[in-house]
């Protein structure tokens, strides 16, 4: 059951970084919405700006080099851009939580699990240490960690990668946030562990009616757990829509190329994998016009002159001068 008001509304977000070589736009005019209880994925390859987008929502873009120069982030109708650090701290962990890619480095190695979890809980709730610890153990049990009463007293290095990631999820969910940002949560995990952790996340999400923004490059994971997809390339959103639409009917040539080049287990071996020609352009030397034009097999003259904008209906939008109807991806495989 979704309400009409989006839980998170990112509108025209633009973030710049000042580097040695000059000012670069990591993301440019990014817009997307998340409804309560919905799972959306932000997909793209390295450098597309997906991590910067989720960090911006959390207010975690490192501020001397980075800066939000335009756009708004509305959470429950409240503007987050320009929020003070103090105000943000009340939100983080409480209403919006984030989990990161590297479970090795995301947990403090010199503190016990219990210490770290209790800290988070007591930060946002006026409870005693004992009560917080009980809640922590409960959360560990919820994420599927066996014998949580003893595990909670261990240090991160005593747990495996999959366990650590679950602890991170437990920590993130301990205050019942309404939005969870997951930045490549399973990329560093083995494929069987990944399956376990993703299943856990999906289950918890349904149980807590929590919205999830999953940042990833793994389209397989997206297909299995998300409802909507936002595809980013070179700092811009180039396509978005429901997961069924995007996979069955990708309109942007980049999305099409991406879907075709994923190695999947096929019925028959094929001699060569389909690829996307060329490389991602350097953000300091962007081509004029459409950023994908140099690699696009459907490029036309107008592609070098103007930048396309997102157009389409609610179920499927694409930013391309040439979006073609393509036969279903699954047929092409």
């Amino acid at each position: 059951m979704t309400h009409n008001e989006p839980l998170l509304k990112v509108d025209n977000l633009t973030v710049e970084f000042t580097t040695d070589k000059g000012v670069v736009r990591a993301i440019n005019g990014v817009s997307f919405e998340v409804m309560p209880g919905e799972t959306i994925a932000i997909v793209g390859e390295s450098g597309c700006g997906k991590s910067v987008s989720s960090l911006s929502v959390m207010g975690l873009v490192p501020s001397p080099p980075g800066k939000i120069v335009d756009g708004s982030i509305l959470f429950n109708g409240r503007e987050l851009v320009g929020l003070s650090e103090k105000e943000y701290r009340k939100l983080r962990g409480n209403d919006i939580s984030m989990i990161f890619q590297e479970p090795m480095t995301a947990l403090n190695p010199v503190l016990k699990i219990s210490t770290q979890m209790v800290d988070v809980i007591r930060n946002h709730n006026k409870v005693s240490k004992q009560e917080a610890k009980v809640r922590a153990i409960e959360m560990l049990r919820t994420v599927g960690i066996p014998s949580p009463e003893s595990r909670v007293n261990e240090y991160p290095h005593q747990l495996s990668g999959g366990m650590r990631q679950r602890v991170m999820i437990a920590m993130a969910l301990s205050c019942n946030p309404s939005l969870l940002l997951a930045d490549e949560p399973t990329t560093a995990l083995d494929v069987t562990i990944q399956a376990q952790v993703m299943a856990e996340m999906v289950r918890l999400q349904k149980q807590l009616n929590m919205a999830v923004v999953l940042v990833t490059h793994d389209l397989g994971v997206v297909a299995e757990s998300c409802q909507r997809v936002v595809v980013m390339y070179c700092g811009e959103v180039i396509e978005q829509g429901t997961v069924e639409e995007i996979f069955a009917n990708p309109k942007h040539p980049y999305t099409q190329g991406l879907l075709k080049s994923i190695p999947v287990v096929r019925d028959k071996k094929i001699p060569r994998l389909p690829t996307i020609e060329g490389v991602v352009p350097d953000l300091f030397h962007l081509p004029p016009g459409c950023r994908f034009a140099d690699r696009c097999d459907k490029v036309g003259s107008e592609c070098h002159q103007g930048s396309p904008v997102l157009e389409g209906d609610n179920g499927h939008q694409v930013a391309c001068f040439h979006h073609t109807k393509q036969t279903s991806y699954t047929e092409a495989v």
Partner: protein, 295 residues
């Protein structure tokens, strides 16, 4: 074959962008670093002039009749013997640079080679043996060590330099060893093994060059340490004998200060202070510029 270098890359100017040029560019943007480099260069210029015999050649001569405060002729005044303090202070710059450069270069070189070997052979008998030697050297109180070597090399004008080298190489060796241990586990080292590259080449061509950013910073630190050390050693009478240095000047000045004559003291310590401060700041900026993580 898929052409990987995109169109933009070919049109970019063919400027070769080595790690050094990147570091250089980064350094030039650091204002404090540039100022300190300027100050250090100024000192170096003075030292070279002295070495070439252009200025301050009369530092030892008795030019005046006795002790004087600063005048138009003698900017920093004269010592109790009538020597020109200004010339003595300037000449000491050469002494300081001599000590600093010789010790820094040699101690770093010895430390680099020793550290690289130890790092590569870490855990083996060779490593343990050199570590044991290093620890033994470090155990001996520094000034006793220098005194012992100075006595042993009695008469050698460079006995102090040699003593310092002997004491200082251990610090560099330790730091290099740590870095090499890290580098030796990286895949490019494995690649060299897989190609059949002989061991000595792996150490000198692959591992040591990747520690140069550390070595450069170590050199600057040793330069400072050597100069400061010399001050104390000369003060104790273990340092420079036939020449003049800021340390000797301060040592001489300790008698004069009680009589109310501060020129000698201020001249020497002032010049020393500015050089050490500038060099330290330069070293910090250098470290920032060379940080390989920011490359």
């Amino acid at each position: 074959m898929t052409d990987v270098l995109s169109v933009q890359e070919i049109e970019k100017p063919q400027k070769r962008e080595s790690l050094w040029s990147k570091a250089f560019e980064k350094f030039t943007r650091d204002r404090l670093g540039m100022v300190s480099l300027f100050v250090v260069s100024l000192y170096l210029f003075v030292a070279i002039l002295v070495w070439l015999g252009v200025i301050a050649q009369q530092w030892d001569e008795l030019l005046a009749s006795g002790q004087m405060g600063p005048t138009a002729e003698y900017w920093f005044g004269t010592t109790i013997n009538g020597q020109d303090i200004f010339q003595r202070a300037i000449y000491s710059t050469k002494t300081a640079f001599e000590v600093g450069l010789i010790v820094a270069l040699f101690a770093t070189a010895i430390g680099a080679v020793a550290g690289s070997f130890m790092g590569y052979y870490s855990g083996t008998v060779l490593d343990e043996f050199i570590l044991w030697i290093m620890n033994s050297i470090d155990c001996v109180p520094y000034f006793l060590l220098v005194a012992a070597i100075a006595v042993a090399l009695d008469g050698n004008p460079y006995s102090m330099h040699i003593a310092m080298m002997f004491a200082f190489w251990t610090g560099t060796a330790r730091v290099v060893r740590g870095e090499v241990i890290k580098l030796k586990n990286m895949e490019f080292t494995e690649a060299a093994h897989s190609l059949g590259v002989p061991t000595y080449k792996i150490i000198f061509k692959h591992l040591m060059p990747n520690t140069t950013h550390i070595l450069l910073v170590e050199m600057t630190l040793l330069f400072i340490t050597a100069i400061k050390s010399e001050v104390i050693l000369s003060f104790l009478g273990l340092g420079i004998k036939d020449s003049i240095s800021w340390g000797l000047m301060i040592s001489e000045a300790s008698g004069e200060v009680t009589a109310g004559h501060f020129c000698n003291f201020f001249a020497a310590s002032g010049m020393l202070f500015v050089l050490v401060l500038a060099f330290n700041m330069f070293s910090d900026s250098l470290q920032d510029a060379l940080d390989p993580r920011k490359v």
